[in-house]
């Protein structure tokens, strides 16, 4: 799966589960730009796992600040 497909999946999660109506781009920051509070960050993590059938642990999640960071982690997990 390429980055574009992963981005499309994340955008879909944001639309369906987080009510995000704008365009999702890799440079968007989860907290500052998507305005996700702790409950919604958790929802994003869980729904991304469901969609891509991956499991992210705390070490994977540390340092994720942008949509692009999340894409990179998902890509690595799918490949693993």
């Amino acid at each position: 799966m390429n980055d574009e497909a992963i981005l499309a999946g994340i955008a879909d999660v944001a639309r369906v589960h987080l009510g995000w109506e704008g365009i999702v781009t890799p440079d968007l920051r989860l907290v500052e730009d998507l305005r996700l509070d702790s409950i919604r960050l958790l929802t994003l993590a869980a729904e991304v796992e469901n969609r891509f059938r991956v499991l992210l642990d705390e070490a994977d999640e540390a340092g994720i600040e942008t949509v692009g960071d999340l894409i990179a982690v998902v890509r690595r997990k799918i490949g693993a």
């Binding site: 907290v31 509070d37 993590a45 729904e47 705390e58 070490a59």
Partner: protein, 570 residues
């Protein structure tokens, strides 16, 4: 006085073969269940106890626990108790949250608890490194599996020994470690089990997604199940938040009679559970849906009952309750088998006269019921004098499960506990014996069942360009018709702030709070310097700030007055 305690229940569970239905069931995200009878839980706890003793854990030592919901938490928790030690459950990091903030908070809590040992899940252990290094607990940080092998020598603790330390609001600024004795925990458990007797026709069982570092999850669900040798089905809190339907499906599947949650959980079900998620679900066995730990919205209660009636949910199951970790949990319960009670009270009377007068078009407040057995309640004025029914005042409580105090903080303990009465810091009134909550006298922000110290939220605004240093107030309250409490932030702009800084200030403050605390600010007010009310010694008055804001009176003080004040201080 309870005759038995946690260790007696645990011993009994291991001595005679556990009833086949007594134990812990963990449900994962694919809804697969793993079952551990109480006897097996005890065996694992004994092994952990032996390991901790081989390391050098002794009676009275504090052992911090950082685990997701799972069997290892219980091995560590009961193992520490068997060794005579005092478990201190701490929360694991929230997903995708800022790790530095989490580590900083955890280090403060480890420090305050004086933990000699930290036990953690293997994944969390790697992350905790930094916090642990900073505090340097004598026996380090380990997983349950890498404890040394050793024979367990269970220690007989007495009723006055500490059984548990819970952080009522775990923060960097003002951590409040609530110390509970074995006596208090046993008394609270006895109160709770008294409400849910088993009969030949009915075996009570509970489903919970509540965190185990929170009183409602640990004391409210785990101890009664152990004491009654009953089944408890657990889901991780992160699983519930991501997929609230799993909670309702577990209640249906395991035919739970009891399941508690804070108001926000019922609201989350309304917004995030679809009809398709509930195919085949039957909620008719759910007799008691306890609702506590935060302000309760009448609108959410009604909507939940209406929406889930189709799946057999009974409106009389919805049971508003009131409690706090300083009382080990429950203080008042609404009657069972009766629909919840909502009454309207005159707004002006509540806001200006501290009187509750019924009024057909007034503000709706949910009754949280009457004191549970053994508890007494007083409503007092600021001078400590008892108030009559219908007058709003501070709620003081007395009962068999009050905390010993805040660990290592005699001053805070003396403020909270006086002559055997606990000042809850909550405001309310009595009407026909029922308690109604109207607000808080204490500085606490309570959102989604969790307490936050306002200082922590306010501190996030430090360094935001244009904010006057030390001049921010955070507060939360339940607006009428809102589904839950909302967070407000009041910040004074600095006199030197440029027009650009002022324009960017609201967004910058929201981002700063969201980034460091994970909380979304609902109302943000930028104020002129000198607007926030202060005490004569210059401390911010948070309760007064909120009161003025809600009354539409939060404005710059009269210059003549502030001059006089300056003069008086000089």
């Amino acid at each position: 006085m309870p005759e038995e305690g946690i260790l007696d229940w645990l011993e009994r569970a291991g001595r005679r073969p556990s009833r086949p239905e007594g134990g812990l069931r963990f449900v994962d995200r694919a809804e697969r269940a793993t079952w551990f009878g109480w006897a097996e839980v005890r065996d694992r706890a004994l092994a952990a106890c032996g390991g901790m003793q081989a390391l050098g854990i002794e009676r009275g030592d504090r052992v911090a626990l950082v685990f997701p919901t799972g069997i290892d938490f219980f091995a560590a928790f009961f193992g520490a108790l068997l060794a005579g030690a005092v478990p201190v459950p701490l929360y694991p990091p929230s997903r995708l949250g800022r790790m530095e903030e989490y580590l900083c908070r955890t280090a403060r809590m480890l420090e305050r608890s004086g933990a000699r040992l930290v036990l953690a899940d293997s994944r969390l252990r790697r992350i905790l490194g930094e916090a642990v290094e900073e505090v340097h607990p004598a026996l380090g940080c380990r997983t349950v599996d890498d404890l040394p092998q050793g024979s367990a020598w269970p220690v007989r603790t007495g009723p006055s020994d500490l059984a548990l330390i819970q952080f009522s609001s775990g923060t960097t600024v003002d951590p409040k470690p609530v110390a509970l004795s074995h006596r208090a925990v046993a008394a609270q458990t006895e109160i709770l089990t008294g409400f849910f007797p088993d009969t030949p026709e009915l075996r009570q069982s509970c489903v919970s997604w509540l965190p185990l570092y929170h009183d409602m999850g640990l004391i409210g669900c785990v101890f009664p199940a152990l004491a009654r040798d009953a089944a408890l089905t657990l889901l991780g809190p992160e699983l519930f938040v991501a997929r609230p339907a799993l909670w309702l499906r577990a209640i249906s599947r395991y035919r739970a009679t009891i399941s508690p949650a804070p108001n926000f959980a019922y609201e989350l079900c309304l917004t995030r559970v679809s009809d398709a998620d509930l195919e085949g679900v039957d909620l008719s066995d759910w007799r008691t849906a306890l609702n506590g730990a935060e302000s309760i919205s009448p609108a959410v209660l009604r909507a939940f009952c209406a929406r889930f009636a189709r799946w057999g949910f009974r409106p009389e199951a919805m049971t508003p309750v009131y409690g706090l970790s300083e009382a080990a949990l429950a203080v008042t319960f609404s009657d069972f088998d009766r629909p919840f009670r909502v009454t309207r009270f005159d707004r002006e009377g509540l806001a200006r006269e501290a009187r509750a007068r019924e009024s057909a078009d007034g503000r709706e407040i949910v009754s949280v019921g009457r004191p549970v057995p053994g508890f007494r309640l007083r409503i007092v004025d600021p001078a400590g004098h008892d108030l009559p029914a219908g007058a709003v005042g501070r709620i003081l409580i007395q009962g068999p499960s009050l905390m010993d105090g805040y660990l290592g903080d005699p001053e805070a303990t003396a403020r909270a506990l006086r002559d055997g009465w606990l000042d809850t810091g909550d405001l309310g009134f009595l009407r026909e014996g029922d308690l109604y909550l109207t607000g808080r006298a204490k500085d606490a922000v309570i959102l989604r069942g969790r307490n936050y110290a306002p200082e922590e939220i306010e501190r996030a605004t430090e360094g935001v360009p244009g904010v006057r240093a030390g001049c921010a107030v955070a507060a939360s309250w339940l607006p009428e018709d809102a589904p839950g409490e909302v967070l407000a932030l009041f910040v004074e702009a600095s006199r030197q702030a440029t027009a650009e800084e002022l324009a960017a200030l609201p967004d910058a403050c929201r981002e700063a709070v969201l980034g460091t605390t994970g909380l979304a600010v609902e109302h943000l007010e930028v104020l002129a310097p000198g607007t926030l009310p202060r005490t004569s010694s210059g401390k911010l008055r948070r309760g007064e700030t909120l009161r003025l804001y809600l009354a539409g009176e939060l404005a710059v003080p009269d210059p003549a007055k502030s001059l006089r004040l300056t003069g008086a201080l000089a």
